[in-house]
């Protein structure tokens, strides 16, 4: 610890802290431009100068470490003059076009010019010109306003990992540029406008439409992925203008998916009124008419319920209450990506916080395109990488991470048992084991070398296993997860607390879903099969799109040709075409509600934006539905609803009783007795099919967003890809081919890429390959095998 004096006041900070950070942590205001708490120090703006007693010149506080007994002054006349001069230097080439600049009103340069600048400039020479750049769909540039702080360059290098921003030239010809035009590739690009302290980099979608002071701010939770970032929704009236990160929240950034999905709130795909199908067409109806029709289709019927994990906890609880009240025998499904419904040794959700994952000795990603799935967790791993900490990966593709992975291997999904077995073998050869491991090991005849990457990662004192969709949606997932659990035990990572086991969930609220629906849960695929087999009379769909997303689109379509669909939600999605009745429910931006993210972190949104159309919070729709079907209303208000729900997750009750959310984490479900041995997979198909997730196109919200769809086009890969050698071995080349699966034959264009595992057919789930999502294996017709 170091003790020093700031403006005569004694303070103590940890050794090596910069003067600026010492000032910030003690509420002493020092102006700065180039410093950013999440970026490396550049020390180039020189706005942060302070006086240090005994020094013959001012010190740049951001890059000067504190020293014992140092006496710092931040408000002397000399320092004020220095700041005034730095402002004057900065403004000589600045256009001062505040009245037409989006940043105006929320601009560091403008604020400091008022606080620290002189009233007029003495600069009478010509101003410099600058070139603007194309930085992708979300960032627009006005480079004359750039103050060369290099925050954007450091962001691209350190946070995005794309390194596609840079500095050209020197002296006052120095300029910031996208290294390659149109190259801003990052899924985090929207943050550029936030970190630019001036109006040089601006948010493109909201450019020139509103001013900062017209905004109302609504704090909420992003539900576009399980990370559940805190978001600040900025609206003008009821219209969302943009979404920004919340200062002081665990993640300082937002991904482009969470940030730009907002145009879906007002898209044509929203369900805004109750609708009822008449003569093949969905027509607007009153609530009563719609409930009457729903009642006709559902009363006394055998029903399957499918819902999205993205509803608030209150919404989810109301689904359970409605089901218990009117369909006590109904099974529910809330996951469109799980094929194996046996209990997992560790269920969906994280045993660690993202901070703990950032800090552990070793992280290994198993079968996940993490940059697409959890872009902000990916950036945490990048941060680790920048500090020299290892991240390993095994998966069906060398998914792009924009960081250097310490060791990796590409495998086919059918190799997973052999990979885990190889890792077990390595651990076992060192004399370490766990009860049951030998039996598991004996069930697998093969060993796959990729297992070394896995075993090596688990050897340290601490590690984080990030288990992704390739395993979660595997037909033998329970066995694989059991194997991983045994392996972790054998490596000395006993089951307790934050024990390194993290199964990336499909969506939000995984912990609550497990406790509230574990007993009545089934797979969406099974529900569709039951419907097709005549075992169900109707399907109730609450906010998801099994035709547009997930692994069962063909099964869903088949089921819908047999039974009627009652759809409740905010977005119609592709499945909306099949609904008999549609009931509008409010979007996540429009509700008072509680959300749990993958870490178990709880967030309560309390300042919703007003819902549009006739949309009502889901819980009200559910209660009304229960009533329409003749039941007593299970909960008449939020208090009652929450009381009922506390049974499933007592932690929620603590938070509602205003316990600080930082102190509470909802734990992940464990099934200690879940034993599953890997089965022999005999397949007549020689290729494994892996579905590829795109953050711009997955999920009904994303597809209802024109902004994301447009960005998705820029980031699109071929729909179906394979390793060139796998095709070549059959005597085939890139081009049109016929693919055979259990569903029959499809014709599609197969592209090639070196970075997918040989033996794998990689399928972008949308587009022509949509139907291939249902399958796990395929063969190509023709060619030699």
């Amino acid at each position: 610890m170091t003790t020093l004096y700031i403006n005569e006041e004694e303070i103590t900070v940890s050794a090596g802290t910069s003067i600026l950070e010492a000032c910030r942590s003690h509420g002493v205001d020092v102006p700065y431009f180039c410093y950013h708490p999440e970026l490396s120090v550049a020390a180039n703006c020189r706005m942060c100068l302070v006086e240090v007693e005994g020094w013959n010149k001012p010190a740049a506080s951001c890059c000067t470490p504190v020293a014992e007994g140092m006496k710092i002054h931040t408000q002397t006349e000399a320092i004020k003059k220095d700041r005034q001069m730095v402002m004057e230097y900065l403004l000589i080439n600045h256009p001062l076009d505040c009245p037409v600049c989006d940043e105006g009103g929320d601009c560091r340069l403008q604020d400091y010019a008022v606080a620290h600048g002189a009233s007029h400039s003495r600069y009478v020479e010509a101003k410099r010109a600058a070139t603007n750049h194309d930085l992708g769909p979300f960032v627009t540039t006005y480079m004359t306003r750039c103050i060369h702080c290099t925050r954007c360059v450091r962001f691209a290098d350190e946070v995005a990992g794309t390194g596609d921003m840079g500095i050209l030239n020197r002296s006052d010809h120095m300029s910031i540029a996208g290294i390659v035009e149109e190259a801003c590739e990052s899924e985090l690009s929207g943050n550029l406008a936030d970190i630019c302290p001036v109006g040089a980099l601006l948010d493109k979608p909201s450019h020139d439409v509103s001013r900062p002071w017209e905004m109302t701010h609504h704090q909420s939770t992003c539900t576009q992925c399980p990370n559940g970032c805190d978001i600040n929704i900025e609206s003008r009236g009821d219209e969302v203008m943009r979404i920004k990160p919340v200062e002081g929240s665990p993640e300082p950034w937002l991904c482009d998916r969470g940030r730009y999905v907002y145009d879906a709130f007002r898209s044509d795909n929203r369900i805004l009124e109750p609708e009822v199908r008449q003569d093949g067409e969905l027509l607007q109806a009153t609530w009563d008419e719609a409930f009457d029709r729903a009642g006709d289709l559902l009363r006394g019927k055998r029903v399957g319920i499918i819902f999205s994990p993205y509803w608030s906890a209150e919404g989810l609880a109301s689904i359970r209450l409605m089901r218990d009240a009117v369909f006590p025998d109904a099974k529910v499904a809330f996951d469109l990506h799980r094929r194996d419904m046996r209990p997992f040794a560790f269920e969906e959700g994280f045993s660690m916080t993202t901070q703990q994952i950032e800090d552990v000795e070793h992280v290994v990603i198993l079968g996940s395109d993490l940059r697409q799935r959890l872009p902000l967790l990916m950036q945490r791993l990048r941060k680790r990488g920048n500090m020299g900490k290892p991240v390993s990966r095994i998966g069906a593709m060398n998914y792009r991470t924009n960081m250097s992975i310490s060791s990796d291997a590409i495998i086919r999904p059918r190799d997973w048992p052999a990979v885990i077995a190889r890792a077990m073998q390595q651990v076992s050869d060192l004399g370490q084991t766990a009860a049951g491991m030998d039996t598991w090991l004996a069930a697998v005849p093969d060993r796959h070398e990729a297992g070394k990457v896995l075993a090596d990662s688990l050897m340290g004192e601490t590690c984080a296993l990030l288990v992704g969709e390739e395993i979660r949606s595997h037909v033998d997932a329970a066995a694989l997860i059991h194997g991983l659990d045994l392996l972790m035990r054998a490596c000395g990572h006993a089951e307790e607390g934050n024990d390194g086991r993290n199964l990336i969930p499909e969506g939000m609220n995984a912990q609550l879903l497990a406790s509230a629906f574990g007993d009545i849960r089934t797979s969406a695929g099974d529900l569709f099969a039951s419907a097709s087999a005549g075992e169900l009379d109707a399907l109730v769909l609450i906010g998801s799109d099994p035709v547009g997303d997930g692994l069962f689109p063909s099964a869903a379509k088949a089921a819908l040709s047999k039974v009627p669909l009652i759809q409740i939600g905010a977005i119609a999605g592709e499945i909306g075409n099949s609904a008999e009745v549609q009931l509008p429910a409010a979007a996540y931006s429009e509700v008072d509600g509680t959300f749990i993210n993958m870490e178990g972190r709880i967030r309560v949104a309390r300042q919703p934006i007003r819902s549009i159309g006739q949309a009502r919070p889901l819980w009200k729709v559910m209660m009304r539905l229960a009533q329409a079907l003749g039941a007593d209303v299970p909960a008449v208000d939020m208090t009652e609803l929450r009381d009922r729900m506390a049974a499933f997750a007592p932690e929620l009750a603590d938070v509602w009783k205003d316990k600080a959310t930082e102190e509470v984490l909802v734990p992940v479900a464990r099934n200690r007795d879940a034993e599953a041995l890997p089965a022999r997979l005999d397949s007549s198909f020689d290729l494994d099919v892996v579905s590829r997730y795109s953050m711009y196109r997955e999920g009904m919200w994303a597809r209802a967003s024109d902004l994301l769809l447009a960005a998705g086009k820029l980031h699109a890969l071929n729909d179906v890809i394979m390793h060139p050698e796998t095709l070549a071995a059959k005597g085939l080349k890139e081009g049109e081919h016929t693919v055979r699966t259990f569903l029959g034959e499809h014709s599609c264009h197969i592209g090639v890429r070196e970075d997918v595992s040989p033996g794998v057919l990689f399928v972008a789930k949308r587009g022509v390959a949509g139907d291939l999502s249902d399958v796990t294996a395929a063969s190509i017709v023709g060619g030699q095998s």
């Binding site: 120090v41 550049a42 020390a43 180039n44 703006c45 020189r46 706005m47 100068l49 013959n56 010149k57 001012p58 740049a60 890059c63 470490p65 003059k81 220095d82 001069m85 730095v86 004057e88 230097y89 900065l90 000589i92 080439n93 003495r122 600069y123 020479e125 010509a126 103050i147 060369h148 290099t150 500095i167 030239n169 020197r170 002296s171 006052d172 010809h173 120095m174």
Partner: protein
């Protein structure tokens, strides 16, 4: 070597044998004492002793800042598990300076020998000479000399059977003045644009590829062989206390015999200019003397007798800098001079710090107007303030250098500026 072992007799160190023809050839250099003492150093000296001798010698860096060389070497952490690098700064960009060039083109082996000794003291395996891009001829000379040194096992593995190995590589810069600043040099050598790093950390701790690194000027390193051969005490008795040894001065401007002159420290400006350089072209006393390269404040006729030492120059209000003495007699147009220097600094600023990036350009544009008779009274105050608030407020000292000529002009010759203002020209 023929340098007298009596310190009182010593007149030159680096230039002692420079007049000998063909000294670039290893055989000739060896006949004249090159590498004669090296085996003794490698066999009988250790790191501690060498650093002690250099400390005792009082040698201060000849690149500009005058930092004590032995002290700098002693800051290098040992046994970090990382390599230590030695970088010779041969960028020689400071306007007026042309001394390192002569060492390299006439006596390259002196520099190589100094680097081997420094490298041995610092446990260096890889050393580099970062040479100014324009010095093509000198680069070729250095390459040839290094090749001969490798052939003679003076460089490379197991030098002269001592067990010490060091490799030496010449890297050509691309003509940017800023790459002479040691941290910009490091960035440039790493293959990046030459933009100075802020300090701390200092290069001694985190330099080239974030490993411990010593950066020394050519002349500094070329002084090492004499110090080790004759002893630190010997060197400490040459010149003046705290300002020991000899120093090469690159004298240019309105003198009759411009050129490089090595003299013992403490020699006065007058002696150097009158006795060595054949006096001034016009008049009996200079109008302005820039004593340490264009980045140092100007001295006037009244400082003609000031001693050429680090302390003496500070006392006179300037700095010894790189020892580049620019002499201007009464015919000099100081406004044109200042304008030209302002252009230099505006062109060479790396552009990262606000005051330097914006300030150098601003100063240049005002000076352009002033020189063209378009200046106004208020420009004088702006020049003064804009220059004064650049100095000491940036990552590197280029901004200080850019401010120096402007501040000197306004301090000493305000009337000359005023006479050019539009009010007075019209």
């Amino acid at each position: 070597m023929t340098i007298p072992s009596d310190p009182k007799q010593v007149k030159q160190i680096c230039f002692d044998r420079i007049h000998i023809p063909n000294l670039t050839k290893l055989s000739v250099a060896r006949e004249n004492g090159a590498y004669a003492f090296l085996p003794t150093v490698l066999k009988e000296f250790d790191a501690g002793k060498i650093i002690d001798e250099v400390k005792t010698s009082g040698l201060r860096g000849r690149g500009g800042a005058g930092f004590p060389t032995g002290l700098k070497w002693s800051f290098v952490p040992r046994n970090t598990g990382k390599p230590t690098y030695l970088l010779c700064n041969a960028d020689e960009g400071e306007p007026g300076t042309f001394k390192d060039r002569d060492i390299m083109r006439f006596d390259p082996h002196l520099l190589i020998e100094g680097m081997i000794m420094a490298g041995f003291a610092l446990d260096v395996q890889d050393a580099y000479i970062y040479i100014r891009g324009e010095f093509l001829y000198e680069t070729n000379v250095m390459h040839a000399a290094i090749e001969e040194a490798y052939e003679a096992n003076l460089l490379g593995d197991n030098i002269l059977g001592s067990g010490f190995s060091m490799h030496l590589t010449v890297h050509r810069g691309a003509g940017a003045y800023i790459c002479g600043e040691e941290t910009a040099l490091i960035e440039s050598l790493e293959g990046k644009p030459g933009r100075p790093r802020f300090k701390p950390p200092f290069p001694a701790v985190e330099g080239f590829y974030r490993c411990p690194t010593v950066v020394n000027n050519v002349e500094t390193l070329a002084t090492i062989p004499a110090i080790l051969e004759h002893g630190g005490d010997w060197h400490a008795q040459i010149g003046e206390p705290n300002n020991t040894g000899c120093k090469i001065f690159s004298v240019s401007g309105h003198v009759n015999k411009p050129g490089n002159y090595e003299v013992p420290m403490g020699t006065s400006l007058r002696t150097l200019i009158e006795d060595y350089c054949g006096g001034l072209q016009h008049g009996s006393v200079p109008k302005v003397i820039i004593p340490g390269g264009s980045s140092t404040p100007w001295l006037l006729a009244e400082h003609y007798d000031a001693p050429l030492t680090y302390d003496g120059m500070i006392k006179a209000g300037s700095m010894l800098g790189s020892g580049a003495i620019i002499v201007m007699d009464e015919t000099a147009d100081l406004i044109a001079v200042t304008r030209r220097l302002a252009h230099f600094y505006a062109h060479e600023s790396c552009g990262q710090c606000t005051p330097c990036r914006e300030g150098t350009g601003w100063l240049e544009r005002i000076m352009n107007r002033v020189e063209a008779g378009q200046g106004r009274e208020e420009d004088m105050q702006v020049l003064n303030e804009a220059a004064a608030h650049m100095a000491g407020r940036t990552i590197c000292a280029l901004a200080d250098g850019a401010a120096a000529p402007i501040l000197s002009l306004l301090k000493h010759f305000p009337e000359e500026v005023r006479a050019r203002l539009v009010e007075n020209v019209a």
